[in-house]
Assembly symmetry: C2
Homo-oligomer: 667 residues x 2
């Protein structure tokens, strides 16, 4: 005969809770939200039979003992929803509790009872339940409830009894003191990370400090960067990301165009970190001093920008770690340190860390300490180089712990690798992620990819940051498409993704020559040499970029990815999509000609119902790039785009309002 084990749940816990959302891998990882968001939580909640269920959303900041409670209401098909406000950055937890509510069940049935005797007996049962509730209520409410119960017991007139039992106010009062002895609570305390707004909406500009001098032949400094800030700010960027600024190794230093030997005067790659001058916590002497760095941070901040640093956990052969911590490297049988390699290729200027070191704890502490060092200096944004070549558990620990101390820290994962690895990094804590955007060119590719990013499971944790170029990625499309290709790609990046970035000045100057055709490497890449850029060149895209970034700043629709939606165009070279803000008040519709060579035209078909537009009333399309305004009506409208003039429209869609005040846009 079956035995009841003494440690099992009380059998009277009859409420069932399933499928809480948001949920990342069943609560193993945190969902992500932004401070100020209303965090909607849903769950399937039900019980056996016909009793009435009550559900509450429980939430707290991590570390709080007590749960806060928020009501949950049924939607359809046993799905319930509640929400709470994420009022500050940091980690939260949430779960759901539910119970069979006998008072609510009684009231539900009481409303349907008809016969005098049936009502009388039910009233007595109800009085008992109300007295129980009174016992859980504070003194004043206790008295009111007891009075109600007493009147229910005494009332003899049937219509009066029914009315008394269904008293709205007293019913609501009794419902506030439910019997939760047999409540079921989902044992998984789902984690939530609440970030500041820039985690969702950011515009990045990458720049090599050593090329910032403006004078051919002179090594740029942090002071030169400071002088460059107004240029970057004018284009509307809010994150200025600098490749590594640490001392560069001398041993096996690479030369221009990635040649094996630097030669005298060769500046090497900033990612070959460490020399006699110091390692990951030091500044490259030619860039300046810590005082210069602090000035740069402050100056950027005063211009509405933040400095992002590069975290590249690898060492040049002359990095001080190699001597001080030989156990952090892998040693070859010939007594040398294992350099980076992908046989038969060798990268002898780089030593990777050996994460299977017996001293992995010391290594983890030190590496997290590197980030902590710069965080203590005031840096809050870190672009992490190749995180997928370091153990995932390291990042989960380091980011979680660092964000406990610096909850406003932002980590961008530079992992151009297989999808599961990229998602794991996002799940375990990276705030933003580079994407495959650079290699998605056709309407089909872009639609598939961004639909997956914004509607797949990653929407809860993977925040895309779209880059049309990087110092390592000069795409074929940019190499062959001319200036229009650069316009197309920055408009796509900036309107498809709430976070995007460019590597400049190469981008705004439409630098398109590869080191060798068939590769994506830049000729004379700044990775290995200093470049001098003519920022005032007439073909510069800086003014267009400024308009794009202003459109992003002024339109909340472009500041998040959740509402991205694609619309049909009867020409595969044209693509159309829209974003909206949470209230569906700000709408931006982008139409792009993906063909950088030819004029393309076609009929765009908007889903007016989804956009909340009356199909009978004209609406205004205000192109935020050209300033032109068009009056559209109905779902189908004609578009023609000449890549030489303007390969894209970024329309603010303005619904026609009935009040006079709202007619001003027709001026």
């Amino acid at each position: 005969m079956p035995e009841l084990k003494p440690d099992m749940n009380d059998g009277r816990m009859r409420a069932i809770i399933e499928r809480i959302t948001p949920s990342v891998d069943g609560g193993r990882f945190a969902a992500k939200r932004i401070v100020g968001d209303s965090v909607a939580v849903e769950a399937d909640c039900f019980t056996d039979g016909h009793d009435t269920l009550a559900c509450l959303l429980l939430w707290r900041r991590e570390g709080e003992q007590k749960w806060h409670e928020a009501p949950m209401a049924p939607l359809v098909n046993d799905r319930w929803r509640g929400s709470f406000a994420a009022q500050s950055v940091g980690r939260y937890q949430y779960t759901v509790t539910a119970w069979v509510d006998h008072f609510l069940s009684w009231r539900h049935d009481f409303a349907r009872r008809v016969e005098r005797e049936d009502l009388r007996v039910a009233a007595l049962a109800g009085a008992g339940l109300i007295e129980d509730a009174a016992g859980r209520a504070p003194a004043r409410e206790c008295q009111r409830l007891q009075g109600w119960a007493g009147r229910l017991r005494a009332e003899v007139d049937t219509p009066a009894l029914k009315e008394l039992g269904l008293d709205q106010e007293l019913g609501a009062l009794a419902a506030r003191y439910p019997d939760r002895r047999y409540a079921s609570t989902c044992p998984v305390e789902h984690p939530l990370v609440v970030d500041r707004e820039r985690a969702r909406f950011s515009s990045w500009y990458e720049m090599f400090p050593r090329s910032a001098s403006g004078e051919p032949g002179r090594h740029g400094t942090l002071r030169d960067c400071e002088a460059r800030l107004p240029y970057v700010a004018k284009m509307g960027f809010d994150v200025l990301y600098l490749p590594p600024i640490h001392p560069i190794g001398r041993i096996n230093r690479k030369g221009a165009n990635n040649t094996l030997v630097a030669g005298s005067g060769g500046v090497g790659s900033p990612w070959a970190i460490g020399s006699a001058e110091g390692g990951h916590k030091a500044l490259h002497p030619e860039l300046g001093t810590m005082a210069d760095f602090r000035r740069l941070l402050a100056s950027a901040q005063s211009q509405g920008m933040e400095i992002a640093l590069d975290i590249a956990f690898q060492c040049a052969p002359d990095h001080p770690y190699v001597k001080a911590h030989p156990q952090w490297f892998r040693w070859r049988p010939d007594g040398t340190v294992q350099y980076a390699e992908n046989p038969p290729k060798k990268y002898q200027d780089i030593f990777p860390f050996e994460f299977e070191s017996d001293d992995w704890r010391g290594l983890w502490q030190e590496l997290a300490g590197v980030i902590g060092f710069w965080a203590a200096e005031g840096v809050r944004i870190f672009r992490v180089d190749n995180p997928h070549t370091k153990p995932f558990p390291f990042w989960e620990w380091a980011i979680t712990e660092l964000k406990r101390e610096y909850p406003d820290a932002i980590f961008l994962a530079e992992a151009f690798t297989r999808p599961k690895l990229m998602h794991r990094l996002a799940k375990l804590g990276f705030t933003q992620s580079y994407t495959y955007f650079a290699w998605r060119n056709t309407k089909h590719e872009l639609t598939e990819y961004f639909t997956g990013l914004t509607q797949g499971p990653g929407r809860e944790y993977f925040r895309p940051n779209a880059w049309p170029n990087t110092p390592d990625i000069l795409t074929e499309y940019l190499q062959y498409g001319g200036r229009p290709a650069f316009v197309v790609r920055i408009v796509l990046a900036a309107t498809l993704a709430a976070s995007y970035g460019i590597y400049g000045p190469a981008f705004e100057l439409a630098e398109a020559t590869p080191r060798e055709y068939g590769t994506e490497d830049y000729l004379d890449s700044e990775k290995y040499q200093i470049r001098s850029w003519n920022l005032d060149a007439p073909h510069s895209l800086s003014e267009l970029i400024a308009r794009v970034n202003r459109a992003r700043r002024e339109n909340p629709a472009l500041q998040s990815d959740a509402t991205l939606r694609f619309f049909p165009v009867d020409n595969d070279n044209l693509m159309c999509y829209a974003k909206a803000d949470a209230a569906m008040e700000n709408l931006v519709v982008t139409v792009v000609n993906l063909d950088p060579h030819h004029v393309q035209s076609g009929w765009v078909e908007l889903d007016l119902a989804a956009l909340g537009i009356d199909a009978q009333t004209p609406y205004q399309m205000h192109d935020l790039l050209s300033g032109a305004r068009f009056l559209w009506s109905g779902p189908r409208n004609f578009v023609q785009l000449d890549p030489q003039r303007a390969p894209a429209h970024v329309f603010a869609l303005r619904r026609k309002m009935r009040t006079e005040r709202n007619f001003d846009y027709f001026l």
Copy 2:
């Protein structure tokens, strides 16, 4: 500075394991399989960097200490798959372990090395790894591996060294003794329930024993049921399900057509269980004795059938429990027991159990004991009445524990309720589930519903059992569609679902008169009175049913639901679908005219590639109902179905083979 907690995992555990399938609610519930199945388990497994991963599937029968290991191989995109054979019924567990395999990584790189010095140093490193493997190997293999390592250290000729390092046999040997110190193992031990074949493939016939006498006016007995067995067996059913066979309450007994008073001679509803003669462990005296019952079980078994009993946990007012265990019922303030009600409706012949009783443990034990009692008598199939009106945790405990003692037990959940509740019952342990099939009539409805059942998450745990009618469900389609409607519905049930059932003889005699139009109740329902049936009526469908059931027995394609696939027909009254066995050797294509009134015709479009058919070669369609054979070719073929003659084709699709031996079907 971030702290490393002493209880965290070793940081050298670098393998990541995600998204194991099958997985029901992340391993909270068991997936279901059938004895003899190969259980394929998949997981996303990967690690940082470029090292080579090794993965193993771990599995064991519940209760075993040691895991068995099965190899896993990569599919695509970091997905791995392994499998094990479910060799006996019962509960299993499985999980996945993975580690970074340094020997495999070494071999991968060694194959790509070119330079003499590079190979020499790598050979020394490899020799060290091989010596480590030798230390984990038994004596003989240890010696072989050490010999290999020694030769690797000594070899000076470059081509010979490369060949030696890549020795296939020695490499495979070393790989058998990996270093698993830092292996990651998914901590969720996923449960699996392995049932006997009838859990997946069963044909049910429901019959009221008291109507089995064949003589108008005489109460049928279990002996009469025994005499009826050959009739049921001839139709090809393998489960004979009897409504409750226990004493029927006398207090508030219902009369014919569900009238409030039974009157003298009224037999009452078998679901009003319990009287002075006994309760759930007793037999209704008019049906016979326990000796008769045992004879019935044995006789059914000898004819290839099993008896299924009805488990209806509720009591008539005169059930012995009411006096013996008053604490198992809810008492009203007027001192009476709470009867079943759905205000303003009352069901005063039925007392539900009070599962919130302080003695819930005693109640659970007793109810599980009821099932245990009949299981001890040899019953292994239970149709559970309204399980969704009893607490879900009760069923999870009772079914799990009963199946530990009777692992071949089968439980069918009769829960015609909301989808989430039905799924919960299936997840927590019910072997099969009634469905909404009875109310899905159009091509769109049937396609949507069965696609969801066979391809949605429920495919791992929800086994549909499709019934065109029950004593409570005489659908509108059957009421108005005449005899063709009955043929259509049984063909659909029997070919869409591997398990199905009918309530007879009402079904095969096409009984179609409702108690009242607008309801689904039968006129003169057997629930409340004895009926006498003319089994030899010329319009009986028994011969057609026999053909349908023979087609099911002889075609493995119809014995599982996993491969169900729908094909387009250019007429919405015609629907077409196919099933295949696991090896795709047995193919059954069904075409049904859903319109019971008119001849319908149209072009069926098979997906030949999915069915493994050469588009250039004709194939044979053998109608298992009529015996007719058609030669089809290409994807599009014409079908015309006259409901008066034959509303459906159930085709065995036979591919033309090239060997002479296989031409015999063209005779």
